[in-house]
């Protein structure tokens, strides 16, 4: 047999997967060198969705950045909104009212639920579990209905403002949330039964894409992918922002860091996030949602129409932009994929001098060759899915 193998004409084959390929559900290209079905080498080519986020931010005012942040991780846009607003508020040195903090927590967690639901749904779909996909997409639709009720849009939310929010909770939001979560929990149980003990699913994801905790840290993993390796690092617990320190929730961790652990961590986080939303709704205090600082947060419309000082501030902040004092800050929030950091530099003018995003899926995608070398080509599918690369965020 070995003699036969020696004479066989075997050459490495290089194939392109992507940039538009059913497996790469972000726009990304894999240049894979194959020996039969084994991956010998892999190169990842990103940048297909690059649209110059930072350059756009530098040309607009501080408030005009918020719609751009929606388009970073477009599966959980509210977290990006909140992360940016908190970074600017840190730069200015202000803190929003308590009710606003609670509402931001609710918004973030709804977004996180939607993100994890999408991720698990797509992962199931790509491994042939179409039913699980339908169930979780239904659940996601329900969560998106809530988000739509909250801010009028499903994906491009543009909900958070520097120093406040666009609007308060709508009427009947609590009841609707209760109904939606009841339905979500039912669907969650169904998908749990369909996938977690499913032999076909487990065979595809177990011991695939595993990485040790030390290596994951060196690669800069954060979020569910790092927690799947057994490191309980969550920005919400490590450096609590907003009112996360008043919430009672657990940080689920895995053991081996393989795709199955990443899946389990995400499933559990959906449950924990629902718990957080319920707690935040029950603790929700009364009070204003916006800061009363007209140089940073626009006054209510009736004041703008009827008071000259409000009108002047409105004009100045719209035309010139708000003006944070010169300085630089880095602020991190827990995005759905990991640590989402904003590094802002202000020169005292109405435009950001620098607006840098630390995208959580960027280092994760960079580790794809490490995760895939020596594995089978079919393993790319679940691994890339559980990495959850989002083009809008990775390429900016």
């Amino acid at each position: 047999m070995s003699d036969l193998m020696k004479d066989l004409h075997t050459e490495h084959m290089v194939i392109n997967m992507g940039p538009s390929h059913p497996v790469t559900h972000g726009t990304v290209k894999f240049l894979v060198t194959l020996d039969g079905e084994n991956i010998v080498d892999m190169k990842v080519d990103i940048g297909y969705l690059h649209r110059g986020f930072e350059k756009m931010c530098e040309s607009g005012t501080w408030q005009q950045v918020i719609p751009y942040t929606d388009r970073l991780n477009y599966v959980s846009p509210l977290i990006n909104n909140v992360g940016y607003a908190l970074a600017v508020e840190k730069l200015i040195g202000i803190e929003v009212p308590e009710r606003c903090q609670y509402l931001r927590v609710i918004a973030c967690e709804l977004s996180r639920i939607a993100d994890h639901l999408t991720n698990v749904a797509a992962g199931g779909l790509e491994l042939g579990a179409f039913t699980a996909f339908l169930y979780f997409v239904e659940a996601r639709e329900l969560v998106w209905d809530l988000i739509e009720m909250l801010c009028g849009a499903r994906v491009t939310v543009n909900f958070v403002r520097i120093g406040g929010l666009k609007n308060d909770l709508p009427q009947g939001f609590q009841d609707k949330t209760r109904a939606v979560f009841k339905e979500c929990r039912r669907l969650w149980n169904d998908v749990d039964k369909l996938l977690t003990k499913n032999r076909i699913f487990i065979d595809r994801v177990r011991n695939v894409g595993d990485i040790s905790a030390e290596e994951a840290i060196a690669y800069g993993f954060t979020g569910p992918c790092l927690r799947a390796c057994g490191i309980p690092y969550d920005v919400r617990k490590a450096q609590p922002y907003l009112v996360y320190d008043r919430m009672d929730f657990e940080v689920p961790i895995g053991e081996t860091g393989d795709n199955f652990d990443k899946y389990l961590v995400r499933m559990e986080e959906i449950q924990q996030s629902m718990k957080i939303v319920e707690q935040a709704l029950s603790q929700l205090p009364d009070g204003p949602i916006n800061l009363d600082l007209p140089q940073y947060r626009m006054q209510p419309k009736e004041d703008i129409y009827h008071r000259i000082d409000s009108l002047i501030f409105h004009f100045k902040t719209v035309i010139d932009g708000i003006k944070p004092p010169p300085g630089e800050v880095y602020f991190a929030v827990e995005g759905a994929n990991g640590e989402l950091g904003f590094y802002l530099v202000s020169d005292g003018s109405g435009k950001p001098y620098k607006c840098r995003v630390r995208p959580p899926c960027f280092p994760l995608t960079a580790a794809m060759p490490r995760l895939m070398k020596g594995r089978l080509i079919a393993d790319i599918v679940p691994t890339f899915d559980m990495i959850n690369m989002i083009g809008g965020e990775c390429d900016r």
Binding site: K55, G220, Y343
Partner: protein
Amino acid sequence: METNVTIKKLSNRFPGAIIETHSHRGDDTAVVKKESILEICTFLRDDEALLYNFMMDLTVVDYLGREPRFEVVYHLFSLRHNRRVRIKARVSEADAIIDSIVPVWVGANWFEREAFDMYGITFKGHPEMRRILLYEGFEGHPLRKDYPIKKRQPLIGPIN
């Protein structure tokens, strides 16, 4: 002060390499000489009292009109001590080159490629110093302040 541990340790260990330090809004920052960046990063990662095992972010800021023009900004995080620090190294336009920190944190690879792509800073010792978000053949570095925002370049196909 607990928050200043990093800056104190750095100043004691590398008295000649620290140019200035500040803690604006609670973010500890040290501006260091670019020649010693590799040494400082290794120290920050390995010292028992610091253990900055995460390289969270790496980027560049272009201060056009200032000399040296660029600042390479590193954001590090220590899981053990739950602490963050910002390290900055100034790089001039004429000599836009700095040591790569990939030997210290392998995750810095793509971040440095992005910095090269957007600002044209070369990282010495990087395993694969080429563009990442833009295509080969793109002219200029778009995040430099003197790159016009409305400038258009014809798209040529990707080169493998």
